[in-house]
Symmetry: C2
């Protein structure tokens, strides 16, 4: 009851919150809640076992960050998969997120856009594709997108830039200074968490010159622009590039180094 009132107040104030409820196993109905206020995450309630709570809270926080809802399965003490192959009781937990999904805006209706949109959808993003060219920016070419918008970047940011925040991403794949310079300017004016821009190193250097001409030259702005976009995976296809971009978005949000876990030390989920 206390949890309900707390939950009601959080939803009223539009504070992102995720509720986990045991739907099968011991303690059916037990609830745990993860609340994110600014950059602070707090855990309230219990699923009935402290080890299960610890593991589940981590997963619930992950779902909250991704703005997703689903069912997860654990061993009675939070084992990711029961150690025994058969006859092990499992705990099924329904995780429900009360927060808008993160947004990804992709500028440029190019070959890479569809692949990036598909991987972004797996990650739970609300995907918006934006291009000024009416014949390319069509829902038919990008069926995975939640929205396809025919627009230049500036009006798009004027209208909706205020809805972007730290969980969101802007990916600029246009290769065209007429389009990508105003898109970068628009993105920098928001608090969006990730700004990536596609292009060779030569294109990148030319772009820096053009950005300087329009007054974008501060170290803090340039630090935010991930260009060339993506991790250096050496991939060649649009799909491999999409994985390289999404991997960079995740690593940049968490501040992790993106080397192989095999070659690092310490806890994986620190």
């Amino acid at each position: 009851m206390l949890l309900y009132e707390r939950f009601r107040d959080l939803v009223r104030t539009e504070t992102p919150v995720a509720l986990a409820t045991v739907i099968d196993g011991p303690n059916v109905g037990a609830k745990l809640m993860v609340v994110r206020e600014g950059t602070t995450e707090t855990v309230e309630g219990s699923l009935g076992n402290p080890d299960l709570d610890r593991v589940a809270a981590r997963d619930v926080a992950g779902e909250l960050e991704a703005g997703r809802t689903g069912v997860r399965h654990y061993g009675p003490e939070g084992q990711a998969t029961p150690e025994d192959l058969v006859d092990t009781p499992t705990v099924s937990v329904f995780i429900e997120t009360f927060a808008p999904p993160p947004q990804m805006w992709i500028f440029g209706a190019v070959d890479f856009t569809a692949a990036l949109g598909r991987v972004a959808k797996v990650l739970g993003y609300r995907v918006t594709v934006c291009d000024a060219r009416e014949i390319f920016a069509t829902k038919r070419r990008f069926p995975m997108a939640d929205e396809v918008i025919v627009s230049w970047p500036a009006p798009m940011f004027e209208r909706r830039g205020h809805t972007l925040g730290p969980r969101d991403a802007v990916c600029i794949l246009t290769h065209d200074p007429k389009f990508d310079v105003p898109a970068i300017q628009g993105a920098l004016a928001t608090t969006v968490g990730y700004i990536g821009v596609m292009g060779s190193r030569k294109t990148h250097n030319k772009r820096l010159e053009r950005l300087a001409e329009v007054g974008v030259s501060g170290a803090r702005d340039l630090e935010r622009i991930m260009s060339p976009i993506g991790l250096d995976l050496g991939g060649r296809t649009p799909e491999e590039t999409a994985v390289a971009i999404c991997a960079e978005i995740i690593a940049r949000r968490t501040g992790h180094g993106a080397t192989s876990l095999k070659n690092t030390s310490g806890s994986i989920h620190s």
Copy 2:
């Protein structure tokens, strides 16, 4: 005609080959072919422009590696996207791959399996899910999988391990030594390009002891085992973990370092 005969012989000998044909733009019908014999790639034919050939050959090789077929668009001299937003002629190239798609075998019908399967499908893998537990290893739980097989690892590798090669991946998500030790042994006996094993560092260290007990302790074998699996992206959801795994598979195949391209130098597609 010469190209046809060469192509016919390659298909006869089951040599992976990708054909690129101009289907719109100048030189409709012009063909370029990328052939992979062992680790050597050769480019034959031309699309009618040396710069276009260079860019397209790179993309065709990427499609060949992924075993995929599709249409790509270029500027007349191979520009990834025409510099001008309107009225620029483009060259449409149909790329057709004649090689089986790469395989991903996922051991363990767990929560992470479905997410990994979805990202792997975007990358063009033929996905096989394998688990000994009949109630978990179902097509219904893994609709994205091309095959769901109820089996212990050893018989699976005995029957089909010889079909795995350098383009393929084995991902072991079971967390169970009864299952993952024989899966690792089976994978090491093949020429599969990637072997990743999920688990905390503690699980990993215990697993190393068990592997030593069954005779797996050589540096060369241990070097092949990517464990804990994936790049260190700091992600928490199954989907983020799937991106971390696929990113590691790509980087390991190409030998690239997986840091942000922003923080490296040199050509992106070297």
